[in-house]
Amino acid sequence: MLAQIIFILALITAIIAFTISIKKIIRNINLGKDIDRTDHQPERWKNMLKVALGQSKMTARPVAGIMHILVYVGFIIINIEVLEIIIDGIFGTHRVFSFLGSFYNFLIASFEILALLVLLGVFVFLARRLVLQLKRFKGIEMTAWPKSDAIYILVIEVLLMSAFLTMNAADYKLQQAGVHHYTLAGSFPVSQFILPLLPTDINSLILIERFCWWFHILGILAFLNYLPFSKHFHIILAFPNTWYAKLAPKGEFNNMETVSHEVKAMLNPSYTPPAIDANNKFGAKDVQDLNWVQLMNAYTCTECGRCTSSCPANITGKLLSPRKIMMDTRDRMEEIGRNIDKHGKDYNDGKSLLDDYISREEIWACTTCNACVEACPVNIDPLSIILDLRRFAVMEESNVTGSLNAMFSNIENNGAPWKYSPADRFNWANKED
């Protein structure tokens, strides 16, 4: 009975703590401007099913992709086991689904195989980070925390899977010994190999089984509460992120409506533009100037670095790293979130995303080639943030290099980005080749 009460309290505490964290993240994402991304819903559902649920972009890099699918499928399916553990924990039952008979045996057997595959995947991932030291996992943005975050996640997964398998092994041995409460149920194709390592003493076995059971479920609840602080949050946000992702062709950059009104007014003096909000900025200086989908993108990023490793600027040694753009956006959002918690919502710390986090050198190195957008397995769009920062630099500050200014004035005066006379535009037709 005491165990049940402790379990229920742990479960409630975990859920409350998780809810509080999620609310903060939602509040932070809502710092962003509104944008309507609810059109073409059938296509959005299709994208989510294909890209997030179906992992369709992961296999562009086969080794990491296949290992990731193993860990992902294992994680999702083993959650059915977690459901049983929760029911057992609340009602003090043991293997409550065992009435399913042979189907239950099949379930447990497949969980065990999946757990083994998850372990395999996780060990490959650990090797890639710790032994092979892949370039993709390095870079200026991969400071101490992002690096250890990745390792913590993998270690937690090893511990959870090991506890699950050890628990099953001890349970199996107790079942064989005919110990009361340990109903004969399940099939243990993997954990049977752990049996020889376990003691034969019944009390020790019960202790091991109980310890692993508690470790497994408390570990899962703790991991759940680690998610909102970690890059691992992608396991949740990948779904809404792919749903709300841009559907237009990658080359299509949004036409700013506020600008359209002003340009129409310039070209046609009788056009009266609607009044615009005095706080409106052209482009983005800080996270509040971005839209909420861009901010959700930042929380979705799991720092895999596929974007950065395909970025032509980064490949050729420039400072720009699309992954850093996303991580900076998230870090800045978190900073503003902490400021709101401490000092209230109108507090201004005098910092901004542009300059305090992302430098001019970074944004101007972008070729807008969309390689980062293409590479992202969960449809994050770092390019749209880079563009909004450029827009601020150009339209609010007129702070661009001389050559770009020259290009602007050429377009304005000659109708071409180079200094040629508009009268010569058709000369090509009269040239001999």
Binding site: V263, A313, T367, S403, A416, P422, D424
Partner: protein, 262 residues
């Protein structure tokens, strides 16, 4: 000399073109790109396509301004161009510049410019499919090693990967893909207004990195479909002093040569 009718001429003669050839700034002014413009105009003439250009009425689409963050300038350009295009009642546009292609196709509709926009490689492919371009009488590319460099604004930006490749397939050449191609193609380094500024400091220039991919294929011809890529690849070839071994040609030029049009 080629006879290229302007829209003004056409309207004056009470005629309407099937398609407007949007030449673009590079195609109009850049000496190397002008040759591509001429080649494509010859293909259109050869196939009896009733086309016209805007001539001196054409203006920058605003693409480099937009990618550099100058939305005002972009929309000014866009709205002025749309006024001209709508004034001539233009329905279909073909262009040899993926930047113009992307901008007019994707960013003009929402500002009032609705046109059926295609890239010149797509039109050439249609002409080949329709039997109007026979691949005969001209320079043979048979057995030549050719690699195609995907322009970002045609490929990734708009998903056009097949048309340019199909145009090359009729040559019976030895087509080789670079290790980074199609969706994973590496930018030439000129997009996003980089064409008009010095690159940020780094280990090397993007077109030099791209040349490594080209050299790896041992191609004799780098086929391009974008005037900016043309400049960057040409500079890359020059950087490695491979002008004798590697020719950079636009798909329109290859087709025109193959059909003895230039």
């Amino acid at each position: 000399m080629i006879q290229v009718p302007t829209m003004a001429d056409m309207i004056a003669a009470g005629e309407e073109p099937e398609v407007l050839f949007w030449v673009g700034c590079a195609g109009s002014y850049d000496e190397r790109a002008q040759r591509v413009t001429q080649a494509f105009a010859k293909i259109l003439t050869h196939c009896n396509i009733k086309f016209a250009v805007l001539g001196t009425e054409e203006n920058c689409t605003g693409d480099p301004a937009k990618r550099a963050g100058n939305e005002f300038l972009f929309q000014m350009q866009a709205m002025m161009n749309i006024e001209v295009l709508n004034g001539y009642n233009i329905k279909k546009i073909v262009t040899a510049c993926p930047h113009c292609f992307n901008t007019i196709k994707n960013e003009y509709p929402n500002l009032g410019g609705h046109y059926d926009v295609i890239h010149h490689t797509q039109l050439i492919q249609e002409l080949i499919d329709a039997g109007k371009l026979k691949a005969e009488n001209g320079e043979s590319f048979k057995g030549k090693k050719i690699t195609y460099h995907d322009p970002c604004y045609l490929g990734r930006a708009n998903g056009v990967y097949e048309a340019p490749r199909k145009v090359l397939e009729v040559l019976d050449a030895d087509l080789v893909e670079m290790k980074r191609c199609k969706q994973n193609g590496l930018c030439c380094g000129a997009g996003g207004a980089q064409m008009f500024k010095e690159p940020e400091k780094g280990k090397k220039d993007v077109n030099i990195e791209r040349m490594d991919d080209v050299l790896e294929t041992k191609a004799e011809v780098v086929a391009v479909g974008c005037p900016f890529c043309m400049t960057m690849m040409k500079d890359g070839v020059k950087h490695f002093e491979k002008e004798q071994e590697i020719e950079v040609l636009d798909i329109a030029e290859i087709t025109a040569r193959n059909n003895n049009l230039i």
